[in-house]
Each structure stands twice: as structure tokens, then as C-alpha cells.
Amino acid sequence: MAGMCCEVNLAETETSAPVEPSSRSARRRRMEIHQFNFVPTDSAVAPPLETRGKRKRQKFDAVVPVLQPPRKCGKAARSCEEDDEKVNNSHLPGEVEPEKKQLRLPAAETTPVSELDVARDCPKFGMTSVCGRRRDMEDAVAIHTSFAGANPNFPSGMHFFGVYDGHGCSHVATRCKDRMHEIVKDELQTGGSSSWERTMFESFLKMDKEVGDWCSGGECISACRCELQTPQCDAVGSTAVVAVVTPDKVVVSNCGDSRAVLCRNGVAIPLSVDHKPDRPDELNRIQEAGGRVIFWDGPRVLGVLAMSRAIGDNYLKPFVISEPEVTVTERTAEDECLILASDGLWDVVSNETACGVARMCLQSRKPPSPPRSPGNDMSVTVAGESSDKACSDASILLTKLALARHSTDNVSVVVVDLRKSS
């Protein structure tokens, strides 16, 4: 593997040390521009269900995760996306479809860089999303460069990155992957929202409503393991951490315990704060809404869900809400990269280590010590090569680190190069 990063203490043994809230807030203080906007509660959220507490968050074993067929990146298209790989039942292990290799390449390598205009605006990024040690794949990743088309306000393009970590089943995460960027785009073009906070707030609510309607409508055909049957369907949700990268800003909107971290001049700056039920402000909010946080294998809303905000999870409303916390961060010349990942990474790798690894991959023309290339010449770094390669190296290295540290969850990592004119 390419990134043999020597300056980072990857072998640090204190595994699975979740980031201390205190250190996180310390970092937050250091960052002046960084601002949190707590959006007021919207009364439109669904009323509490009478059934609350009766249903456990269920785990369904029997069926297969739903994964959408991979989409091709049109050469002419201005957007490019990397989807989860399709589970193809008709293929036995060992058979590799001819086009598979091509589809398998990290997103960065399928970006239509041939168009110079686009290439100039197109950020460099890398993505890895694996099932890991779980038997169900419930993570989904969406990457859409220049997703809002020609927007007069943002002539040089905005890019969308989303990581969704489903629970209960995969269909809410999948739905977020398919729809969130479109909803945000619509909201930007027609919503007339005055601010990023408002835009993202409305988008998350719409996404949540769409998921709710979609489930209760029951008209869609889903191959997920719950098969969208009620009542199980109500017990399904997803985290959502979405970053919109504009030429001068990074807008991060978050619901749940996936996380976005900015690496600025070697310092890890979290751009989202996990929504854990025992976070003091979240605990208050839940209790004021009449809900309870019960310790059952960690703090859980009503003893069920281990996060306090999510898309979906109808049965836990209004305690679990879909309002995002939005941060708007001005980009600076010192920004190196943005890392979005599911808790499969963050449970076992600290923000600082993740930044160190990503930074190293981005900086290394050639890593300090000679990592020899593995079989597939993926790691041969040549001077002047695209740093997309570096971004995918970073995402794969972080994924491998998470697996090496015994992450038991799905692991999804997106690394976006934020260096200007790099």
C-alpha cells in the first residue's frame, strides 16, 4: 500500500479511544470562524408514537443488504458519482465481471478529468466503503461533483459529499445516498433559503419526510432485508453527514454519529459533533420532549437507539430528530483535506490520527521510507501524479487502519483534497 506514513504514530495502541468531548471543544475554540447554528425545532416533525418503547430496534438477519446497481460516470456529464457495489446474486465467488474492475476503482479515478474546465473545478477526492466485519452493509456514500449545476451564485461549482450509516436496515441510508444531493440542489435553486443553515435544515427535513412517506407508501420495490414491511420499517434510520464544498466554504451538516473532520495545517478540526444521547444538550432536548435516555449497552434513546439524531426512525420521534447541526467554515490556504467517515472509522481512530494519515498521503510525493508496491501497482507514486491517487490512498489506509484496530462495523471513508491550486 502506498501510504507508509512514518510520521504518524499509526501503531499507537490505545485503540478505540473515542474523541474526548473536551479535546473536541478545545479544538473548536481554537477555530474562530467555526460556528454552530442550532436550528430551532420544527413543529412539523411527526407526533410521538403511542407505541414508543414497545419496539426494540431490531436486527434482521435473514435477508441481504440492498445495494443499488453501480452507476456509470458519463464522460460528458459534469457530475460523477461512486455508488456502492451491486451485490450480484447470479455470480459465484471467484467470478469477476469484466467491467467490475473498472467500476471498482476509487471514485477519484472515474472523475471526468478530460474536460479541463471541469477538472479545474473538480476537487480531488478518494473514497473507500467496505462491509468489514459485519454481515450487513448499511453504509452508503454519495459523491457528486458540481452537483448543483450552473448556479449563478456559485459559478465555479459546488461539490457534494455524503456519508450515511444506516441502522435497522440499509434502505434509509441508500435512499439518502440517492436523494439527498438532489434535495439539496432543489433547495438551493428553488428554496430561496437565505442561508446555508436554512438550506441544509430544510433539506434534511425533506429527506426525512421523504423517507417516512416512502416507507408508509409501501409502493416501492425494495430489495433490502426488511423489505420495507411495517412495522419494522419504522425502526430503520440512518446517520447523515453531508459536506458541500464551495470555492470558499465548507458547509457540513450532520445528523447522528458519522463525522466530518477538517485537517488544517496539521490540526484536526471536527466540523461536526456526534449526536450521542448523553451529550448534555441532546440529553436535555430529549428529556424536554418527554423522552428518556436509558443505558443499555451505552446510552440509548428509550434504551433503543445509540444516537440522538437521525434520518428516519419514525418510531423514536420526537426524541430522535432529523434536524442537522450545520457548520459553515471559510476555507483557508492552510486547509489540507476534509475527512468524512462513519463510526466504523471514528470508533477506533482518533481525529488526530486520521488527519495525520490523510495529510501524509497528500503530502507524500514519495513516502519517507520505501513502501514497496503491492501487486497491483496501485502505490507507485510518481512525481506530479494526480493527488486523487493520494486521496484514495488516504481513504484506503484509514480503512485498513480501522480494520486493523478491530473495527466491527462497516467502514466508509471519504477524503477530499482542499489544498488550493495544488
Partner: protein
């Protein structure tokens, strides 16, 4: 017939395990004495192909014996109770291959960084160096294997439920009725019993066959994704785990047997 099959297969399995130990030695030797990967990758490939062929031979023989006595191979008497606890449809669970791979890869990944940090020379390519493309291929293979494994588990569930299908219930009732009336002489339904059970065994045979196909297919597919040297490391880990599990199971059983003898 059954006994003969058992003796034959047990004998085959004993020899096969001895060969496996020999192959493990060869694999370990190769992993320790690797030249620059370019020069000896062809000889490593030959070694890896040999080990895969060895697995293939195991499943071929197993399949032959299963035709004669599927029940024997579904609950083989020669495995230890420790091994039995991990058995899925008469063998190892195919998805454990990925856990084995991730665990071994993780250990080698961490070791690499420790070595680099302490200033030691970078170790040669192993499972710590899985490339981006390899990780993606492994992930896809894993997801497909999970799907296949679940399908087989579901088939097994259905097959096991057939123990109480109408035919079995009727037959067991008839046999009991008959013995009440005729005493112990139920000889004239023996044919019916045989043919009914035969059908059940055939059902199990198909399931065992698809499970074994998935096992072998998974080994081959994983090895195909890996470079020869990485495959050597993977096959070492697989053999070490398999042999250790057996040894630990035997030690445990011997301990228990001796403590019973003392009591």
C-alpha cells in the same frame, strides 16, 4: 458401506492433514526466504497453486464420500467438539475467510508501521499491503459470499424442517401403529422407510455440495485477488488456524478423558 466410507475418508483425511502440515512448512519457508517479489513470484505461484490444488483434492474426495454417506460428512465423528462448535454445514463457514484475511492483514499492517517506526527495514509485501483495488475486490467478494452463505443456510433450514413433513409424520405413525399390532416386526415397511430417508439424504447432499462449492470457491477467489506472496501469508494463516483448532480440541478432550479416568 457406511463404515467403509468412514474408514476410507478418515484415512484420507489423516493423510491429507499430514500433507497440510508439510505444505505449511513449505509456505512458511517461502515466506521467510522471499527474494525480491519479481524474481520468485512464479515459484511462489506454483507453491500457492499446489496448496489450492490440495484443498481441491480434499473437496473432491469429500464429495465422492458424501455420495455414499452424506450424514457421516455432515457430522463427522473424527472432529473434536471444539471444531464442531465452529462447523457450518459440515465444514468451515465461508465468510470466516474474510475475517481471517482482515485479522491477518491487520496484524501485518500494524507490524509494518511498528517496524518502520523503530527504524527497521520495511518488511516485504504481505497482507498489510492490500491495495485499494484489492480491498474493493475483497469487499465485493465478501458481500457476495454472505449472500450465498445465507441462501445455503436458508436451504438448510427448509431441509431440516422437512423432518416433520407429512410423509415423515405419517410414516412414523404407521411404524408405531404397526409395532403395536404386529409386535416388533415392522419389516414390511422397511422399504418405505429406506426410500423416505433416502430422499432426505439427497436433500442434505445437495446442500452439503453447495456449501463445499462455496468454501472452495471462496478460497480460490481470495487467492486470485492476492499476489502470490500475499496468498502465501493467507494460506499460512488458514492452515495454522485449522491445525491449531484441531490440536486445542484434542488436548481438551484428552484432558477431560484423563480427569475422568482419575475420578
Amino acid at each position: 458401506m457406511g463404515n467403509e466410507t468412514q474408514d476410507n475418508f478418515e484415512e484420507f483425511y489423516r493423510e491429507w492433514r499430514d500433507e497440510q502440515k508439510q505444505q505449511l512448512d513449505n509456505l512458511v519457508f517461502a515466506s521467510n526466504n522471499s527474494q525480491p517479489p519479481q524474481t520468485d513470484s512464479s515459484s511462489l505461484s506454483v507453491l500457492v497453486a499446489g496448496v489450492v490444488a490440495h484443498y481441491e483434492r480434499y473437496y473432491k474426495t469429500k464429495s465422492k464420500c458424501a455420495k455414499a454417506d452424506v450424514l457421516l460428512l455432515l457430522s463427522p465423528p473424527w472432529t473434536t467438539s471444539l471444531e464442531d462448535a465452529f462447523i457450518w454445514v459440515g465444514g468451515w463457514r465461508p465468510t470466516t475467510a474474510f475475517h481471517l484475511l482482515y485479522s491477518k492483514s491487520g496484524l501485518q499492517f500494524v507490524a509494518k508501521f511498528e517496524a518502520v517506526e523503530s527504524g527497521a527495514a520495511a518488511s516485504p509485501i504481505d497482507l498489510g499491503d492490500l491495495s485499494s483495488e484489492q480491498v474493493h475486490l475483497i469487499d465485493t467478494l465478501q458481500r457476495r459470499t454472505i449472500v450465498e452463505e445465507r441462501k445455503i443456510s436458508e436451504k438448510l433450514a427448509k431441509q431440516q424442517e422437512r423432518v416433520a413433513d407429512a410423509e415423515m409424520v405419517e410414516l412414523s405413525h404407521d411404524v408405531n401403529e404397526l409395532s403395536r399390532v404386529e409386535g416388533d416386526d415392522t419389516s414390511f415397511v422397511t422399504g418405505r422407510i429406506k426410500s423416505t430417508l433416502k430422499l432426505k439424504e439427497e436433500g442434505f447432499h445437495k446442500i452439503l455440495q453447495s456449501a463445499d462449492d462455496l468454501r472452495l470457491g471462496t478460497i480460490k477467489a481470495v487467492v486470485d485477488i492476492l499476489t502470490p506472496m500475499q496468498a502465501v501469508h493467507f494460506l499460512i494463516a488458514a492452515a495454522e488456524l485449522q491445525l491449531s483448532l484441531r490440536d486445542w480440541g484434542r488436548e481438551k478432550e484428552e484432558r477431560e478423558a484423563s480427569s475422568q479416568a482419575v475420578a
